[in-house]
Every structure is written in structure tokens, then in C-alpha cells.
Symmetry: C2
Subunit: 295 residues, 2 copies
């Protein structure tokens, strides 16, 4: 049996991630009461009815008043305004974390509000999720076997880091500590870029003359490729802006490579095409062997 | 119980598609003997040992000599040379079909070899497959619930069209007739472009400094997005060249759209980003409802 790590976890933004964390942490027995807060009364009532949270208050300040853990699980674009709203009401020894997909922007938001990242604010990012949104989509096993990246700073409270680490491990995740820059580069490449390409591909196809048949005949490759285009538009608009520099950098690299591929197709250069595809296959096959994830 | 449609089906190229067709058609009881042929004795022996074919001959001419159906299931780039090799040995009433992912190139290959598409050559394309290759990956249900596109011409033998249609339906597929141009446009958009993007994305990422961690932290979006980059390089090099014009056309449209997205990110235009993502989500969600395929 696990010991309680946090007596009162307050989740700001009880959606897919926040809701799944509440479910998993409760089941693991590492949190006591779970309080929810957010902008929408209807969403919070839904979370309460689903048993994901024990109580809620629409006023962030009241919701956090007895919390020993505050989890900010809103879209990343809202984190700074959330911090501004709660900054004078954070209980003295409370630990703060977030689940945002970009970490440079969170660091910046915290600096804008507090001057520097508070020592007990441990930024985090569970590499988990799917194209669905809302507390209705949340489930206990979302973090099972997934990695959670924490990006504490040099002055961070090590005890707080340990507690956040234990919380995620109790939810089935593997916890890794990296720098903010490393996190943002990696996520731009493996998550933000693929999402941007999927959104863009669906839009391109939806404007073609044959669009009805295009979606009717769409096969496996297309289906897999564009699943993430069903993801939350607000959340992804926030992410693209929050991780702008890393994303533009990898987008530029990608469009250069795509231009090379296009030229090889135009000039019918079978040798070059086969070389490019063989390289990709070799790399992709090795990834499958190392990391056979289910999602 | 189905009736035999073809007494002797000869498959040229017994891989994932050819092998799965042999398995499904045998189980459905619509073919008698299945003869295999191809370039590799080892692959044909494997197909024989798996029970996918009843016999084989490495000499195409001998393999087809008593066939009433010849299925060309090689990569599309090899179809013209296959036709050249067999053209003087095709039994008088035999029907020919193929399973190539591009149809304009097959029409052209047939014209180059025969002057025009023979009336009993009914080009076809099962919209099925996965990132695996070879007869070892073949399975009975590959075509179950999938669409097969046939592209007969005005002078095509209607009885031959009907027989090919019945063969695929017996294998669980839905058969649709379209023009060659329509087929090639649709497939460029929904299959060839996504494959090209997946190959290109894996190559871009494999050249980044953080590449070890990039593949270590790859999450769901990336995994789904790049699965098809494990596909057969020779086959996809052939397809890109065979469907060059349609593919370049949709690639150009896509890179224009991606450039717009990049500019919206650069200028932090949240309204434009959200608009683009909302449009994509709306379209993608509607596709899921219409066409919830499994692969």
C-alpha cells in the first residue's frame, strides 16, 4: 500500500490529463482529497459526477486554499494568467507543478509573475495523451508505462522534486529530469511537428476538388497519420506559439528535406528515393524495437 | 458455398498482397489451383511451405501456361517488364489483373507492351496493406471490409470485369470502379503523400543532434505518424515515380499550406492557428464518423 504524498491535491483544469492524474493518484492511494477548479462550472460538475474530483470551487483562490499540491493542467497559453490569479493565495508550503507540453514558456510565465521560478514549483510534462479532450476522456491508465519529464532548476527544492517524482511513479510513469531546452527541442520534433503536419495535411486535402472521395477512400496510412488532427485546437495553438522557436527550427529542417524528396521525385531519381526511404525504414524499424508503445 | 471463378490463378510476385489474395480466395473457395512465380526461389519456397501457393515455377512463361487468371502483384515499377516477359505466352482466354498502387503507370506500361490495354486486362488496386512486406506478412483477412478500385477502360471485357469484381468480393472487399485519373489523384492525396511525409519526417529527425533522446521520448503522435516509414523502400520509390504528377501536385499544395502555418506560428497569430486547427479537427472528426477503419 502506498503512503499519502499529498493530503489535498488541487487540479486547475480538470480535463484529459488533469482528470487522469486525479483518477490514477487516487487509485494508487497517494493523494487524499482532490479539489478541482477551472473556468467552466459544467465541466467541474461533470468531473464531480464522474468521481474524478471530490469537490470544486470556481474561484481558484478558494480552491487552492488548503492544497499542499497545486497542479496546473490548463492549456499552456493560460498558465501565466492562472499564476497571476493565484500568486497571493498559494499556501505557504504548497508544491506547484504543471503538465504543459512546453517548458520554456512555463519558466518564462513563472518568471513574469514571481520574478523567478518559485523553488517549490516543479515544472513537469507527462508524455501521454491522445486526440480526445475533456474529463470524460480521462482514464486511470493514461500514464502507465509512459515517461514524465520534469524540468526543475538549480535552486529547486529537492524534496519537492522527489514528491512530484513519487506521485508520477505511483501513477505508473517513468520519471526523467532534463533541461528546459532539451525538453522543448525533443518535443518540437516528436510531437509538435507531427501534429502541425497532420493538421496541415487534413486542411490541404479538404480543399481539393475530389475531397469527398478523398476521405471515402482514405486508407491505413492516412488514418494513422491524421488521427492527431482531431486534437484540441486551442491547446495546439497555445503549444505552437509557446514552443515557437524550437518548432520553427525543426519545421525549417523538415521542409528542406521535403524539398529534396520532391526534387528526387520530379527528376525520377529512383536511386535517391530508395536511399532516402531505406534510411527512414532502418531508423523507424530500430525505434519499434527499442520502444514498442501501445497508444 | 462459393463457386470456382478461376481454375488456375497464377500470382506473379507472392508478397503481402499477392499472398493475402491467394489465402483469401482459397478459403472463399473461388479459386482452384494457385501457382506462384517471381524472381526469388527462396520467397516462392516460403510461400509453398506456408501453403499460400500450390506450386511454383521461376519461369513466368511456364507458370502462366495453364492460368485462367494472371495476377501481377509485383512493385509497380516492375509491371512493364513483367508484361514484356509474358506477352507472347498469355493463354488465349486468360484474364489479367494487377494490384498496383498507381493506375496511370499500369495503363501506360500495357500500352507500351501491347499497343493498348488488352480487353481482358482489368487493372485493380486493393486499398489495403500495412508497413510489412513479404509472404510471411500475408493473411486471410487483409481485404476484409476494404475497398478495391478497378479501372477498366471503355473497351474492357465486361465479363472479365465481373469476374475480377466477384473475386475481390469473395475476399471480403467492396469493389468500386473509377477512372484512372481519379484513382491516381485520390491515392496521391491519401496514401502516397502521407507515406512521403512519414519517410521525410523520420529522416529529418534522425539527423538532429538530440536524435537518441528524440526517438527515446517519441510519443503517440509520432509513433502513429511514422509507422508507414517502415514500408518497403523499393515499392515506395516505384510508387512515387509512377504517380509523379499527381504526387507533385498535392505535395505543392501541402507545402504551400505548411508555409502558411509556419508564418502563423512565426507571427504568433493565435486566431489564425486556432482557425486552421479547428477546420482540420472538424474535417477529421467527420471522417472518423463516416469511416471508422481498424488498421
Amino acid at each position: 500500500m502506498n503512503e499519502i504524498i499529498f493530503k489535498n491535491m488541487c487540479i486547475i483544469g480538470v480535463g484529459l490529463i488533469g482528470g487522469s492524474l486525479a483518477r490514477a493518484a487516487k487509485l494508487a492511494g497517494v493523494v487524499g482529497k482532490v479539489t478541482g477548479t477551472g473556468r467552466s462550472q459544467a465541466h467541474l460538475e461533470e468531473a464531480l459526477n464522474l468521481g474524478v474530483i471530490d469537490e470544486f470551487d470556481l474561484d481558484f483562490k478558494i480552491a487552492i486554499k488548503s492544497a499542499d499540491l497545486i497542479v496546473i493542467a490548463t492549456p499552456v497559453g493560460a498558465i501565466q494568467s492562472v499564476l497571476e490569479e493565484i500568486k497571493d493565495s498559494i499556501p505557504e508550503n504548497a508544491i506547484i507543478t504543471d503538465v504543459g507540453s512546453t517548458k520554456g514558456s512555463v519558466l518564462e510565465a513563472a518568471k513574469n509573475v514571481f520574478g523567478e521560478l518559485p523553488s517549490r514549483f516543479i515544472p513537469g510534462h507527462p508524455i501521454a495523451g491522445n486526440e480526445k479532450s475533456g474529463v470524460i476522456a480521462s482514464f486511470i491508465k493514461l500514464f502507465n508505462g509512459r515517461r514524465v519529464i520534469l524540468t526543475p532548476q538549480l535552486h529547486s527544492d529537492l524534496k519537492a522534486v522527489d514528491k512530484i517524482k513519487s506521485l508520477w511513479m505511483a501513477c505508473g510513469a517513468e520519471v526523467v529530469l532534463t533541461s528546459v531546452e532539451h525538453h522543448d527541442t525533443i518535443l518540437a520534433a516528436t510531437s509538435h511537428l507531427p501534429h502541425a503536419l497532420a493538421f496541415s495535411l487534413v486542411n490541404t486535402l479538404s480543399r481539393m476538388d475530389d475531397k469527398n472521395d478523398i476521405f471515402k477512400f482514405a486508407a491505413g496510412g492516412f488514418d494513422d497519420f491524421t488521427r492527431v488532427a482531431s486534437s484540441n485546437p486551442q491547446m495546439w495553438s497555445d503549444i505552437c506559439i509557446a514552443n515557437k522557436d524550437s518548432l520553427i527550427d525543426v519545421l525549417d529542417k523538415f521542409t528542406d528535406d521535403l524539398e529534396n524528396l520532391k526534387n528526387a521525385i520530379k527528376s525520377q531519381d529512383a536511386t535517391e528515393l530508395k536511399k532516402q526511404f531505406e534510411h527512414a525504414k532502418k531508423v523507424r524499424d530500430s525505434v519499434t524495437r527499442v520502444f514498442p508503445i501501445a497508444y
